[in-house]
Amino acid sequence: MNTESAAGAESRHSTIYLLHDVVKNREAKGVAFRLRVPSLRIDQGEKIALIGESGSGKSTLLDMLAFILQPSAAGAFRFRPDDGKPAIDVDACWQNDDLNRLGDMRKRHIGYVMQTGGLLPYLSVRDNISLCRRVLGLRRDGTVEHLAEMLGIVNQLKKRPDALSTGERQRVAIGRALAHRPAIVIADEPTASLDPYAAENVMSLFLGLAEEFNSTVILASHAWRHVKELGLRRLSHRTTHTRDSKLTETVVSG
């Protein structure tokens, strides 16, 4: 449980994700899509941005990094959330159908912010934010209240998600992703559904809180402009189409 706080500045260079030749093939309506990751390394405490148009495979990569999507093939897919412990072979977990282990790692180490929604409509804002903490059996320590205050939703804690505006819902989703102080926060276009002003506001709140919680951030966005000044490392990203445009391939590395 202390791994999060241990992920401080002194261990900045330990590697959390190490991917080699990871491929995901998908097909929809006769058009094949392939995401290829020849090499990707993400260190603890890094802030990574994945920039590209929608449909270019950003979500696919994020889902694989969150262990909710199985790669079609992987040369290597290692995950080491605890510095000092041996890296976990994620691909082997998939191969062995060990979904419970992947679920446990996700529960403990990863927070996920979806593009929209993902809140449970039958829980109050407070319970939605505490959901991950509850699942982990963490005690109340004021984190939820602190997050609510930082995100400006203190007055909404007792409301249900359907009583909130879209922007407020995204703040709640960010709160939930951070509440259990995960080592990694993955966010899939967390501000895409907001107006530009609110988007900038929420984005800087998010990155500020992730910084405060010492979380590694992996962020997908279609607009580079407003994440550039936030100091994120941009992954190289190249999309090609075959001549008959039957195959779209995206190559990501970094």
Binding site: S59, D63, A66, I68, L69, Q70, L99, N100, G103, D104, R106, K107, R108, Y112, M114, G117, G118, L119, L120, P121, Y122, L123, L131, C132, R134, V135, L136, G137, R160, R176
Partner: protein, 403 residues
């Protein structure tokens, strides 16, 4: 593990309450199918049950009477009585001789009564009550007991007359009321007596000697034969068989077999109709329950995926729809039972004056409620389990991207 299940149980409950309109619809939909089925079964069980009870309880339906008068030897009657499907058999004497005049201390008038041959185990007499025995203990029919104003234990004076050697001769015989028979046993003035007493009275009228009672006459009767007998089959189901057995040896008998067959056929037909309806109802019920639960799981795929995203295991997630289905099953069952109770109350109220006291046209046993609950919960668990497993099998990322 248990802790996770408890968390899932809480989440499922909160979701169920949050979506109370949906939940109410599911419960109503279930009760709308299950309630009428319970009423239908209650009616079938109540009506046919009452008819069968009546058939079985009324000994008249088990009676087999020879038509006309014959000559039945004692040994033959014994052999018939030993048949397993015969519950009771006593020989009858000539009915013209089977009468007596009774007098009691309480009323001045003399009451002539018919005598009915009886013995231990007479189906017309209340089980466990005293039976006619020897030459003095008799069981009076209700109507003769009323006319004589006597009750069990009272003394009676029986008298009868014969013409013997050109003279009218009257003899008296002290009798004791052993018991009074139930109202429906014999509706006219009558008395149940032992076969031995009937034989004595017949001998007296025939001018024969009856040494036990000190009555004079010609030598005692040897090689007695009887003009008839009272026979009751073990159950209504044995009546037709016995009738056929008698017909095979040219003994013409009168039975209620036709009426019994009618009710049995009605029971079979009603049962067949009921099962046809019940099977259709059950299939429809299972499909509607399964479809609604399946659709519900489908609808919640994104939410279930979110639960997996925050780290619930697949095996925990399956319990989410399961818990909700069980809520629907138990609440729907409870509502169906309420519907049944209300309907049965109205039906039984309407029919109360057409059936015997204590009988109900529409009724169910405890076990039937339990079976209904078991079937409903079973179907719910299976449907939710299948749907839950299906939603668990898809990759969480797919469920998440749905809107």
């Amino acid at each position: 593990m248990i802790r996770n299940l408890f968390k899932i149980f809480r989440l499922a409950t909160r979701d169920y309450l949050h979506e109370w309109q949906m939940s109410v619809c599911f419960v109503l939909g279930l009760a709308a199918v299950l309630g009428p089925m319970m009423v239908l079964f209650g009616l079938k069980f109540g009506i046919v049950g009452a008819m069968m009870d009546q058939l079985i309880e009324d000994p008249g339906n088990r009676e087999i009477r020879p038509v006309g008068s014959g000559r039945y030897e004692h040994s033959w009657l014994e052999s018939v009585r030993k048949r397993p499907e015969v519950a009771f058999l006593v020989p009858r004497t000539r009915s013209i001789a089977a009468t007596i005049e009774l007098a009691s201390e309480h009323v001045p008038r003399i009451v002539p009564v018919e005598l009915i041959a009886s013995d231990h185990g007479d189906p017309l007499l209340a089980p466990g009550s005293p039976v006619p025995e020897g030459l003095d203990r008799v069981v009076l029919s209700r109507s003769s007991a009323n006319k004589l104003a006597v009750k069990a234990g009272d003394r009676l004076d029986g008298s009868l007359v014969r013409r013997y050697l050109g003279q009218q001769e009257r003899v008296h015989l002290p009798l004791t009321v052993a018991a009074v028979a139930p109202e429906q046993a014999f509706s006219r003035d009558g008395a149940f007596v032992s076969v031995r007493l009937l034989e004595a009275l017949e001998d007296f009228r025939d001018g024969r000697t009856v040494p036990e009672l000190g009555w004079d006459g010609v030598s005692a009767n040897t090689g007695r034969s009887y003009p008839g007998f009272r026979l009751y089959a073990r159950s209504i189901h044995d009546v037709a068989g016995l009738r056929d057995a008698f017909a095979a040896i040219d003994v013409d008998v009168h039975t209620q077999a036709a009426g019994i067959e009618l009710v049995q056929r009605m029971d079979r037909n009603l049962t067949a109709i009921y099962w046809a309806i019940a099977v259709i109802g059950l299939v429809g019920f299972s499909l509607s329950l399964g479809a609604s639960l399946w659709a519900n799981v489908d609808r919640k795929r994104k939410q279930l995926s979110v639960l997996r995203l925050v780290g619930f295991r697949t095996s925990d997630i399956v319990w989410f729809p399961m818990v909700q289905s069980l809520f629907t099953a138990v609440l729907g069952w409870a509502l169906a039972v309420t519907i049944y109770y209300a309907t049965a109350w109205v039906i039984n109220g309407m029919m109360a004056d057409q059936v015997d006291a204590g009988q109900q046209v529409c009724r169910l046993l405890q076990i039937h409620y339990a079976i209904a609950l078991g079937l409903t919960s079973g179907a719910a668990v299976i449907a939710a389990g299948l749907a839950g497993m299906r939603s668990a099998r898809i990759e969480p990322s797919e469920g998440l991207r749905e809107l």
